[in-house]
């Protein structure tokens, strides 16, 4: 018997109805298989349908055609097995850092005792180095810290897949680098399957095992898939001169700016 496939997208198409016009075909013909504990990034010009694709995997939006299977079971609607880290963090502003994570863990793991719940929440706060801020409200901490809380909240519910839609897109480049380090360190300790959307070439190469490059919309689809054969842990400074890193970077740049350049950007 063949080994069970982890996450599988089959022939996905998403059409948006436009009143009085033909449907807008955002993405079409997407076939993709993702292995357990793999880190995948999806890169493409803005508006090509990256978020659309991720929303279908998360179940927040339904595909028009095709199927998505997680461990052989069809994905229908959102659920905690596919945790999402939103670009704008989406922390509830009236709850503290601790309470935001607690709320999620409590709901997804109702069987935990009070003590276990507390331990779990604190473990994930520690994982993203936020012990000092655990009683702060989201508005009282920086953007990068908020995003770390978002990651902790997502991981704390023990998802099978972690979905991130341009998680660091709104942050300055230093903060972004810092968060990438966080993510890699966490991944080193606890293996997760991660799908991360980005429009940052370096981020894609640094973080991923494979980079999915999407063509431009309408009717966007997977153009190329790049394997990043770099050992982990990766060091961003040393990588700058690594031939494999340079090769990957060039492949993505050539895809984005030669094969599928976008005029209006």
């Amino acid at each position: 018997m063949a080994e069970q496939r982890f996450l599988q997208l089959e022939n996905i198409e998403k059409r948006f109805p436009i009143p009085g016009k033909e449907d807008y075909i955002a993405v079409t013909d997407v076939d993709l298989e993702i292995k357990q504990n793999e880190i995948i990034s999806i890169i493409g010009h803005s508006g090509c349908g990256k978020s659309t694709l991720l929303n279908m995997i998360s179940g927040l939006d339904a595909q028009t055609e095709g199927y998505i299977f997680l461990l052989g079971k069809e994905v229908k609607g959102p659920g905690p097995d596919r945790a999402v880290v939103f670009q704008n963090h989406s922390l509830l502003p009236w709850l503290s850092v601790y309470q935001n994570i607690e709320m999620a863990v409590k709901k997804v793991m109702p069987e935990l005792s009070k003590k276990e719940l507390k331990e779990r929440v604190e473990k994930f706060i520690t994982m993203v180095n936020l012990d000092h801020a655990k009683d702060k409200l989201p508005d009282e901490i920086s953007g990068g810290m908020k995003q770390r809380v978002g990651i902790a909240r997502a991981l704390a519910i023990k998802p099978k897949v972690l979905l991130m839609d341009e998680p660091f897109g709104a942050l300055d480049s230093l903060t972004r680098a810092n968060l990438q380090e966080h993510l890699m360190r966490i991944q080193q300790n606890v293996q997760n399957t991660v799908i991360i959307i980005t429009h940052d070439v370096d981020e894609a190469v640094l973080l991923s095992d494979r980079v999915i490059m999407m063509t431009n919309g309408p009717e966007a689809t997977i153009g190329e898939i790049l394997e990043v054969n770099l050992p982990r842990p990766r060091n961003r400074v040393e990588l700058q001169h690594d031939p494999e890193y340079i090769r990957c970077r060039e492949a993505i740049l050539s895809f984005l700016y030669e094969k599928f350049a976008k005029e209006d950007e």
Partner: protein, 271 residues
């Protein structure tokens, strides 16, 4: 700064002085219009310029002569009771209704036309109908206040629900919250400040309306009292009544504002 505080105290004094001047001038022009001095005596007791001995409406606010003759305190209490009864009922009905309308497009389509049509109707227009239905002064006043209060509560509750960011709802969806959990954990925290804004508006209007409603229904209450003093030719008491109504309205708004701030997560816990 203290300098600013001094301005806040001294500047209103000038306006107060000007008001007294205008008032005195009016009293000198209008036949039997009470002067500021006589009004003061009517409020706090003494002998007026005409030589009448006055007990003072505000010096003896608690007296009860009989069912139909009670001190101003009891008049105000009667009005406040009606306002809070009607207002409370409006909250009980308006908040859940507003939540439903905010959460469901279908409910919005169903109710919105009626809200739009009934909202601009003066609550006093309902009064004769309500009097006819209930045949009871108290019930009529309370239900008039209910009709007054309900619209801002519904509308602001709905607005609060609409203000819930779709991102928060996405979090709720990923966590598979039940509809009840969505309401309690996501929608209410966002909507509560809006609900309190609606309640504050409602209470303000209710206090405006009760005075007029009681003038029409009669019996007891500060509105009726003012009207009764007019009929008894005690014009100074009208002025005292107006000032009392103003102070109470101001207090109600102040208290509602404090309560609203307490429930607003954006204003709580801020240093």
């Amino acid at each position: 700064m203290n300098y600013d505080l001094a301005k806040k105290i001294i500047l209103p004094m000038f306006v107060f002085g000007a008001l007294i001047l205008v008032w005195s001038w009016t009293a000198s022009k209008v036949e039997s219009f009470p002067t500021p001095a006589d009004t003061y005596i009517a409020a706090f007791g003494g002998t007026t310029s005409a030589g009448d001995e006055m007990k003072g409406v505000l010096s003896d606010p608690f007296y009860v002569e009989n069912e139909d003759d009670k001190g101003i305190f009891w008049q105000i209490v009667a009005s406040l009771e009606r306002v809070f009864m009607g207002f409370g009922l409006a909250i009980l009905v308006g908040v859940p209704l507003g939540l439903i309308i905010g959460m469901s497009k279908e409910a919005q389509y169903a109710f919105d036309p009626f809200i739009q049509v009934f909202k601009p109707v003066s609550p006093l227009a309902w009064l004769p109908l309500l009097l006819f239905i209930f045949q009871d002064i108290n019930m009529t006043a309370v239900s008039t206040i209910f009709v007054t209060s309900i619209w801002p509560i519904i509308i602001n509750t709905t607005l609060g629900v609409k203000n819930v960011s779709p991102d928060y709802m996405n979090v709720a969806k990923v966590l598979r919250f039940t509809p009840i959990e969505k309401v309690i954990k996501i929608i209410l925290p966002v909507a509560v400040p809006f609900i309190f804004t609606g309640m504050r508006l409602s209470l303000g209007i209710a206090w405006l309306v009760i005075v007029a409603a009681e003038m029409l229904t009669g019996g007891i209450g500060i509105g009726f009292w003012i009207w009764d003093e007019y009929n008894n030719l005690n014009y100074y008491n009208i002025i005292i009544g107006i000032i009392m109504v103003g102070f109470i309205g101001f207090l109600l708004d102040l208290i509602m504002g404090k309560i609203a701030d307490f429930f607003d997560y954006r204003k709580r816990g801020r240093a």
